[in-house]
Symmetry: C2
Subunit: 82 residues, 2 copies
Amino acid sequence: MTYSYVISIARKPGLSDPEGTTTKKALSDLGFGGVTHVSFGRTISIDVEAESAEAAEPLIEAMCEKLLANPVMERYTIEAAS
Amino acid sequence: MTYSYVISIARKPGLSDPEGTTTKKALSDLGFGGVTHVSFGRTISIDVEAESAEAAEPLIEAMCEKLLANPVMERYTIEAAS
């Protein structure tokens, strides 16, 4: 059976986010003056064939640790998608 | 008052996602053979000063159209964050 997951990845709190800082400045230059904070994250949607959700979830976790996220700088959450 | 929003941006359906295709292959090479689909998206968290939520939401919409998303290739959803 196919199980679908959405992985949300964001920088750990306290790490600088140059993309966010630059975007905040660009928004201000475009006339959007009231923006006080911008930060970026990414999402990865994955469909995986597995015998059960119990078998699929550790696989997704292992994919995050080995390839999809950078555990040094990022934190991630895994959610089952409908 | 400060209002917080999360913008979720993904490619429009039917457009190719080279990052997803490459990641699927990389996962397969790492031994994760059961992956049938991978696609990438991004999220942007924005805090904005505004008089009311009714004033803030059209601002966020305008930011998406002018800078944050590419309406030709991407679709986006805006959600108020807690």
